[in-house]
Symmetry: C2
């Protein structure tokens, strides 16, 4: 549209602030939104703000929840002896999609990153150590990402937790299932070799 | 998240209704949105619904506007003897980005499509013919898409308008600038040959 028309450009500008939505996509979406029935746009608009308002962090694990405890912490059938440590709530969702893991989680809300000024006090490490005090947890599985910050955070946590007589494990690194060896990067291949198992 | 958590899934479901946003992108965006400051989500939510409410169709050309006439129709410096006919307001925006065309527009809000049950009465053809009554318009440039429906609509309009003693033209089809001949489809290449010009 020409310069005079505000609303569409304004919608596009707001959408373009979201991750993975570029300027062109934002504009296409904005044009689509003004062509939608008002009721549909109202539903979208309400879902965003009401959804955001309804969501808070679980008092125990830091996952997203609408109540005090998240559905996982509140579930009596979960194994309280295992704690899977992840960077953020999205990682909880990813793990839960697998349906394999029956323990609890601890969301750090970040990883150690000296470059970005994120130190141990900036992520939920203190809360993690507190959860280990009552001897319920027998194993802490560190599932931070297999990148530099994730590995550094894993190493840091292992050093803190091992003296507490709790088993500390790290998720395996290797070639993704269904992928092609040819396209695996060297570090992944090296990790895959290192982590090889007897068949 | 696990099945119990509504708001994030609801945001994702609303976003996934938008074009070009798949289930995975919608979920990633939903997680991002609940992690945003409430004020930012409020701004996004407001831009959507207030933007949608503010936008209506120009009484004259059918383009999006916030007032009675769009900024193009209201602009006295535009050439009133030329009318560019497009399918929807997004096409007006595309043409305007070129800055070459100084005439007015007419937005059909669709193209003829017997397959989808869209006939001449379903798009703004009557309004177009009315605009040609007062002899101001000397040329109608049909800029519908170069696909089957766009071509059929162009041919239909040409047949209606020519007897009114108005020049009817069609935008050129050909090889896109900057593209590679090798990758052009045969119909485009054939159109490019057909529309060749003396150098």
């Amino acid at each position: 549209m020409s310069a005079g028309l505000g609303p569409i450009d304004q919608i596009a500008a707001e959408l373009a602030r979201l991750p993975s939505i570029g300027r062109k996509t934002a504009q296409r979406l904005a044009y689509h939104i003004v062509s939608m029935p008002v009721e549909r746009v109202q539903a979208l608009s309400d879902a965003l703000i009401e959804g955001r308002r309804a969501v808070r962090f679980c008092d125990r694990c830091g996952n997203y929840t609408t109540g005090e405890l998240c559905t996982i912490c509140a579930n009596d059938e979960r194994d309280r002896s295992q704690l899977c440590v992840v960077r953020d709530p999205r990682d909880v969702a990813a793990m839960e999609r697998v349906h394999d893991y029956r323990g609890l989680y601890h969301v750090l809300h970040g990883v150690l990153s000296p470059m970005d000024g994120v130190g141990p006090a900036d992520i939920r490490i203190r809360e993690l150590l507190q959860r280990l005090q009552d001897d319920t947890v027998r194993e802490v599985i560190i599932a931070t990402n297999p990148d530099i910050e994730g590995e550094a955070t894993a190493a840091y946590l292992a050093r803190l937790i091992k003296p507490m007589n709790v088993r500390v494990t790290r998720i395996a690194h290797g070639v993704p299932v269904g992928s092609d060896l040819e396209y695996a990067d060297e570090v992944t291949l090296s990790k895959a070799m290192e982590g090889r198992r007897e068949l």
